[in-house]
């Protein structure tokens, strides 16, 4: 019985965690959710999406 409870908790906790983190990652879009994220060359980078947006938007109010 004890073993059933331990297994049950492990399975359901892991499953919940995985589903939640997947949906979170997917909603972030970009590469975080992609199956090819470590391999593909078409856009994945260590630069976060927010950082990129910042860079792109800063062209218009450039001061340097």
């Amino acid at each position: 019985m004890l073993i059933s409870i331990v297994l049950g908790i492990l399975i359901f906790a892991y499953a919940t965690w995985m589903v939640i983190s997947f949906i979170k990652k997917s909603r972030q879009g970009r590469c975080a959710a992609c199956a090819l994220k470590d391999s593909c060359d078409s856009g994945c980078s260590a630069v976060s999406f927010e950082e990129r947006q910042q860079i792109l938007s800063s062209t218009t109010h450039h001061t340097k």
């Binding site: 399975i11 879009g29 391999s39 980078s45």
Partner: protein, 663 residues
């Protein structure tokens, strides 16, 4: 100190990046694959290297090229590593002169010296280094030759000698620059000469930037342009270009010996004669795809996955069952493990051989340089639907995964073409859908597996084309242009092929262990519990009750069973989940596989209609999110969900009706 890697497309930038930063990233041998910056740490140091998209100049045409120029404007690129194609020195050095003008410390890496040697080009390195006033290294980045020297240099020497390079563009331009400098200085800004040169060269990004702050500059440029036209008959940007080119030619004459006229390599010319043949070009592309599927399914993949299936459903299941019995696990736990996890996750994992084989061949096609040829062969067709041949490259990336494909659309210059490409990309059959095909073709179309799968891939392309044509009527027309660089063919290297196959394929395996696992458990829960409690007959479960509501909607398409509908609903999260859901919901008795069981629930025609629907319907959650991010619009993301569902419904319906009429 951050070092940024600049270079033309197809010069081996990403290979070099991978060799000197230690991280392995996949090399696409077609133009413009890196669409965003990538940052890595240079081996044996704590310095960062930024890999930027390939550019021909600092004057960006497409969204991804802007990133490279921005890195300079934002001072992110404090130091520059400029990779130069030794085999195409003249045009590669154009970017080099623009980079040297910025005054940043710069190191030149002459890559592809092996190709230059084959073209009988001899380069005097010492003299080149003296003439340019920068350190020059030689590498063959594909093989990693010369990379260690570069690392040693970056490790030991601070590359912080600013370059003082400057070209004299003639009196008219020089006085315009002086005038502009004084205007800017008056407003308290320190002018940077390279930006003014770019401004005069009509660099759209820099013009926007400076015009906003210094509206006077426009008039100065105009005046200089008029004077030049009157005196020399040339436009200002032509004069700047010619000055640079004269300098480059002088440098090359001084440092290089070309013993005979350059020609396209015989091997490349020979292959191109075949694959870009006038009439056979497109059929050869389709034939190659067919061969890949034949290998993936009939010849190699299916036998392997059958073995895997037997092993999973036999010894593995038995073993776990015995272990659970021995531990005295309660029925609930036994059911979730055996009917949930093993059925669902195992059902996806058995297709690992197929996925890896497919990725191996996709990597092979990419690495060889063939994809650029496909873009050319396809351009006529793409032009007809309001796109250009370049858009075919994101579409092919989509065969792997739609998310990077949506992002790769950034390499397309025209906003309208980019949007269109993003909208049709989800019709490209990704590897996740492949597991659904693998399951069904094994069950229904054992004799013609490759042909059926090919038909689905082609159907995806055809629907994408038709929909793009339809949309192009509603989108404003823009000038469209097409230039495609065709790099020489490479003999792919097995080591890098295997690595890129593994890199693409491991995502599938990891996803099975993480998200598919979690999703499967929840699907099992919904099928195990019902309003009347737990362990209800599966027809009375929550899953059955909810799905049955929607099931009649699919009756016209030939598959109204609630299990199929559940699979479609859960498949929105990720398309592999279609397979795991079916494995959980169709009770598979011992000794029978799901593909053996499916023919009781589907007619072959309904199965095909189901596959068509899975191919086309709503893009998965990750793709929808990528669409939203790339277009910056939730409306477009919602639209892509809605229209692809409608398109899938109509086309699956037509297929089913036509099929019934024929058979």
């Amino acid at each position: 100190m951050d070092i940024a890697l600049f270079g033309n497309p197809n010069t081996g930038k990403t290979s070099l990046f991978n060799h000197i930063t230690g991280s392995y990233e996949y090399v696409g041998n077609w133009s413009g694959v890196t669409v965003e910056k990538k940052v890595g740490r240079i081996k044996q140091t704590n310095r960062s290297l930024i890999d930027l998209p390939g550019v021909y100049s600092l004057n960006p045409l497409s969204k991804d090229e802007r990133v490279a120029s921005l890195a300079l404007l934002e001072n992110e690129a404090e130091q520059i590593l400029n990779i130069v194609n030794a085999d195409q020195l003249e045009r590669s050095l154009y970017l080099t002169t623009e980079l040297m003008e910025t005054g940043r410390p710069l190191v030149v890496v002459l890559n592809m010296v092996d190709l230059a040697k084959r073209h009988r080009v001899t380069i005097n390195l010492e003299r080149l280094s003296n003439r340019l006033g920068v350190k020059v290294f030689t590498t063959v980045a594909r093989k990693g030759d010369g990379c260690q020297d570069l690392i040693d240099f970056l490790k030991n020497e601070p590359t912080n000698h600013p370059s003082s390079f400057s070209l004299n563009y003639g009196e008219v331009i020089e006085s315009a620059i002086r005038e502009m400098e004084s205007v800017m200085a008056q407003k308290g800004d320190t002018p940077r000469r390279w930006m003014l040169v770019q401004y005069l060269n009509d660099n759209g990004m820099i013009c926007d930037l400076l015009d906003e702050k210094f509206p006077e500059l426009r008039g100065i440029r105009q005046k200089a342009d008029e004077v030049l036209r009157e005196t020399t008959g040339k436009r200002i940007d032509d004069v700047i270009y010619e000055t640079k080119m004269a300098y480059i030619r002088d440098v090359i004459a001084d440092t290089c010996v070309l013993t005979k006229e350059k020609e396209v390599f015989k091997f490349t010319a020979f292959i191109d004669r075949i694959v870009t043949h006038r009439i056979l070009g497109i059929p050869i592309f389709l034939l190659l795809l067919f061969l890949v599927f034949q290998l993936t399914f009939d010849w190699l993949g299916t036998p392997m996955s059958d073995l895997l299936d037997q092993w999973l459903s036999g010894p593995v299941t038995d073993g776990i069952q015995k272990a659970l019995d021995a531990m005295g696990a309660v029925p609930l736990i036994k059911a979730v493990i055996l009917n949930g996890i093993i059925a669902g996750v195992g059902g996806v994992l058995v297709f690992v051989p197929q996925i890896f084989i497919l990725f191996f061949f996709i990597s092979l096609l990419e690495d060889s340089g063939y994809m650029a040829r496909v873009a050319v062969v396809m351009d006529r067709l793409m032009e007809f639907i309001g796109l250009n041949g370049k858009a075919f490259i994101p579409l092919v990336i989509g065969f792997g995964c739609n998310v990077p494909a949506v992002m790769a659309a950034r390499t397309i210059e025209q906003p309208k073409e980019r949007l269109l490409t993003i909208l049709i990309t989800p019709f490209m059959s990704c590897s996740a859908r492949l597991s659904v095909y693998a399951l069904f073709v094994a069950a229904f179309f054992e004799r013609h597996q490759a042909l059926i799968v090919l038909s689905l891939y082609v159907l995806g392309i055809v629907v994408a084309i038709l929909i793009a044509k339809l949309f192009s009527f509603f989108l404003k027309n823009e000038k469209s242009y097409f230039i495609m660089d065709l790099p020489p063919y490479n003999v792919p290297q097995l080591k890098s092929l295997l690595r890129s196959t593994w890199d693409k394929g491991k995502g599938f395996v990891r996803k099975a262990g993480t998200f598919i696992f979690g999703g499967t458990v929840f699907i099992w829960v919904l099928s195990y519990f019902g309003p009347s409690g737990m362990d209800v007959p599966i027809d009375k479960s929550f899953m059955a009750i909810v799905s049955s509501v929607f099931a009649p909607l699919f009756a016209p398409l030939g598959f109204a069973s609630w299990q199929a509908v559940s699979a479609l609903i859960t498949g929105f999260l990720a398309k592999e989940v279609v397979v795991s859901t079916m494995n959980v919901l169709y009770f598979v008795p011992k000794g029978v596989t799901l593909s053996g069981l499916l023919p009781h629930y589907f007619s072959p025609l309904a199965a095909y209609s189901f596959l068509v629907f899975v191919l086309l319907y709503t893009p998965c959650l990750s793709t929808v999110a990528a669409i939203k991010k790339e277009t910056g619009s939730s409306k477009i993301a919602l639209f892509s969900i809605a229209y692809s569902f409608i398109a899938a419904y109509i086309i699956a319906y037509v297929v089913y009706i036509l099929g019934r009429w024929i058979f």
